[in-house]
Structures are given as C-alpha cells and as structure tokens.
C-alpha cells in the first residue's frame, strides 16, 4: 500500500466504504457528516459502485431502511451526526437487538439546545448503551483503517452487531490529510462479501421483531452481552489480519510514554494528538507524563486500561460530553469502574472540555498535565471533576 490520497476525515470514510462493496447506503444529510454521503453519492452517480443508494426523509427512516436491508443479508452503511443520531435513537437499539451488522460513520457534534454544529462527543455518549460497537478515530487515516475493519468486525458470525466509527466534527471531518489507502483488490481480499444465512425466500419465511414478553426478552439481551464479549476477541483477531496487510498495528488502545510515566491523560479522538504533542515536549523537560487513547470504547477494554495504567500515580480522564448530575462523566466513570474492579488504587480525576467545539490548545493540555503531576506527587485530588476552558 503505497498510494497516498488527500482526503478529509469524511472523505476518508466515504473512500473506505467505496472499497468495501457495500450493497445498500441509506442516509440523510446533516452537518458535519454530509460530505460522507455526498462523496459517496458521487461514486454511485459515476457508476464506480454498485450500491443501492436510498435518500430517505429523516435519519429515523435512514437507519430503518438500513435495518431492513441488513436483514436480507446485505452489507449496509450509513452516516450521521448529532441530532440525526438522536433521531435514530429508537432504531439504534433495534439494529443491535436484531443483530444487524450495519456500519455507521458518526461525525461527532454537540447536541441542541442551544443549537451548535461543532464537535463534541455528546451525540454518541448519549447513545452509548445502545449495544453498538463504538470506535473513535484520531485522524482521517484511522477513520479509513477502522471503517474497513468495522465491516469485518460487524459481520463476523460470532458478533453480528452494528459498529459506529466516530470522528470529531470539523476537526477531523473537514480537515485534509494525506491518507495511505489500499488498492481495491487488497480490500477485496481482506473483506470479501458478507457471509450470511439470511435471505428473502418465500419458501422459508421468518419472523423478525416478534413480541418478546417477560419470559423471553431478557435472554435476547443476554445474547447481546455475549456478542460484545465475542467482539472483544474478534476485534483483536481482525486487527492482527489488518496489520499483516498494512503493517499498521491497531488494538483497543494506543499509549505513549507509559513505560515510566507517573501522570497521564486518557482521552478519545483527535484530542489525543494534541495531548501527545504536549507530552513529548514535557518529556523533553524531564516530566514523566504519558497519553492513553482508547480506539475502542465499546466493548470497553478493561484489561488494556488496567494494564496501561499499571505504573501511573495519577490519571486524568478527559470527557468531551457532560453527564449532568453524575458523579463523573461517561468515559471517566468507565475508567474508574474498570480500575475499581481490578482493585487498583490509582488517583483518577475527570476534566470536561471542548463542549460545542470549544478549542483545546496545547497550553490547556499542559495545565492538565501540571495538575496530574501534582496529584501524582501529593496523592491528593483537589477537584474530582473540573470544567476546562469555560468562562466563569
């Protein structure tokens, strides 16, 4: 794989979908996701793909159409953001409950009110318990790589779950990058077509979405819990396959400086790039800091987080979404639960940042590292949940 293309985050996802021989795309435009389906509709118009492209009247209908298509055995993709994801909320649970391996590009954007079109994680975090596999990319390259892998993870017969590939609105969706892409034939070999027993056959009718009362419903939910446990194994296997093909090593998380770091930042998406940049500078000054970036948020990589934080004295978890009234915010709560289950006594504090697309500068990150180093030294947390960069 030597070809490098200039692609925005949105275009990188669209290009990966183009190479994945998707049977059906049903979508509705919403900023900052629009470019994904816009770019893809051009592939359809130019005859570069054989995909059935359905323009629906809403996101609720878009995902409904995807669910129907997926249940006929088709490979299916859609994309959305913010209010669109919120409007899909009902169908998100139906997609996972009916075990539809749909892949969706989610370009993270703040939720109304007040209305805002810029990047934060409120949309996906608001639907975090919908039973989907959730992946966060740091840049356009990762968005491309994970989208290709997402189809293979979703459609694995031991998984059969929908996958969302998340990128930060505007910061990634609209920024142009050099993206190393595979040749179409390489993708064909990696992905092949979807293998499934599902077909539309009048001779063998099946019932989908039947009523399950208290005597059966719970068992279906238990199956979904198992599917996410299976996904944990499958993701690892597919990462290995992808590494053989591309030389790029993915996993549940990526860490930097963790061998000797005493204080670290754990965060999702593009902010990890800024954090690593700052950490590098601080490490040159002899400060023992590190960065942990989970790629996979669901299934939550408990083992990997516990291992990555082994030598730390303090950890700051950055949340780009607010769980109003909660003791800490979504990502931090998961990290604390993971550590608590493993009897780890690590000082963890939470910082909420960047809501509604508020910029995160290297200096902001530097201050967080400073706080974390102080906690590492004193063993005392002054503020368990901090709100960074908001005016008083």
């Amino acid at each position: 794989m030597s070809k490098v293309m200039g692609l925005t985050g949105d275009e990188a996802i669209a290009y990966a979908v183009k190479q994945s021989n998707v049977d059906v795309v049903a979508a509705y435009p919403i900023t900052p996701q629009t470019i994904i389906v816009e770019a893809f509709s051009e592939y359809v118009y130019n005859g570069e793909v054989k995909t059935e492209f359905i323009c629906t009247e809403s996101e609720h209908s878009a995902l409904s159409a995807c669910i129907g298509a997926s249940l006929t055995g088709a490979r299916v993709f859609t994309a959305t953001s913010s209010q669109g994801l919120a409007l899909m909320h009902e169908m998100l649970y139906i997609a996972s409950g009916l075990r539809c391996p749909i892949v969706m590009g989610v370009v993270n954007r703040a939720l109304s009110a007040p209305i805002n079109i810029h990047g934060d994680h409120s949309d996906m975090m608001g639907s975090r318990d919908c039973g989907w596999i959730q992946i966060y990319a740091e840049n356009a390259q990762e968005a491309y790589d994970w989208t290709l892998q997402a189809f293979k993870i979703a459609e694995d017969p031991n998984v059969l779950l929908p996958v969302s590939v998340n990128i930060d609105g505007f910061i990634l969706s609209h920024a142009l990058e050099g993206v190393k892409v595979l040749e179409d034939e390489e993708v064909d070999k990696f992905l092949s077509t979807r293998k499934t027993d599902l077909t539309i056959d009048p001779e063998k009718p099946i019932t989908v979405g039947a009523l399950f009362l208290p005597d059966y419903y719970f068992e279906i939910k238990r199956q979904q819990v198992e599917a996410l446990k299976e996904a944990y194994k499958v993701i690892r296997r597919i990462n290995e396959e992808y590494e053989k093909l591309t030389g790029k090593s993915y996993g549940f998380l990526e860490s930097y400086g963790l061998d000797d770091a005493e204080a670290a930042i754990l965060c999702l998406g593009s902010t990890a790039g800024t954090a690593r940049f700052v950490a590098k500078n601080l490490r040159r000054q002899g400060k023992k800091v590190g960065v942990i970036k989970p790629w996979v948020y669901r299934p939550f990589p408990v083992e990997e987080v516990v291992k990555a934080t082994e030598n730390l004295k303090a950890l700051t978890v950055l949340d780009r979404a607010c769980s109003f009234g909660a003791p800490s915010n979504a990502l931090c709560s998961d990290v604390i639960a993971a550590l608590y289950q493993s009897d780890r006594e690590l000082k963890v504090f939470n910082v909420v940042y960047g809501l509604g697309g508020r910029d995160v500068a290297p200096l902001d990150i530097e201050l967080i590292f400073k706080d974390a180093l102080e906690v590492a030294e004193t063993g005392k947390i002054k503020e368990p949940v901090k709100f960074m960069g908001v005016r008083e």
Binding site: L160, A210, E219
Partner: protein
C-alpha cells in the same frame, strides 16, 4: 415460575428471529379473556360482520352460522358490539 422449562439464551435464535413460520398458533391467548362471547345461533343471520371485525381470527365460519374459537378469543367484545341482530352476548368467565 416454569422458567426452567423454557430455552436459555444460548439456544434461542440470535436476535429473537423466529425461523419457523406460523408459530403464533402455538400461543393460546384464550386465557386472557375476562368475558366470553356466546353466540345464539338461532338468532345468527350469518352476515359475517363479526368475522370481519374480529381483530384476531377467532370467529370461525360454518355453513349457516358462525362460532368462536375460544383458544384464541381474548374476549374484547367487538363482535357483540357489531352484531346487527344482537345474537352475541358477553358472559363473565368464572374461575
């Protein structure tokens, strides 16, 4: 509870897909009923309005009159309400 006689999550088809058609027939819903429709077959003019209006398929067509399939009739009373000759009365089920 009887839960132990039902299949566990490992043996139910994924996502609760029902792979065998017509399985609703196995689910006898007649015991939901609080009132049972009783048809006076002497009054019945076989107009089939009850057969049309029944939201289930619990009215059985016979040659000269209709009958009720009590295995599935949930006792909603729509048939009694719609009957133009008042041939159907709703009688409370006794325990």
């Amino acid at each position: 509870m009887g839960e132990e006689t039902k299949p566990g999550w490992k043996s139910i088809p994924l996502g609760g897909l029902l792979l065998k058609p017509g399985s609703a027939m196995e689910y006898k819903t007649g015991d939901w009923r609080a009132f049972r429709p009783v048809i006076d077959q002497k009054k019945c003019v076989n107009c089939l309005l009850c057969w049309i209006y029944c939201p289930d398929a619990a009215i059985v067509r016979l040659e000269k009159y209709v009958n009720v399939n009590y295995e599935y009739c949930k006792g909603c009373g729509i048939c009694a309400n719609e009957c133009p000759v008042k041939a159907i009365s709703m009688v409370e089920e006794e325990k």
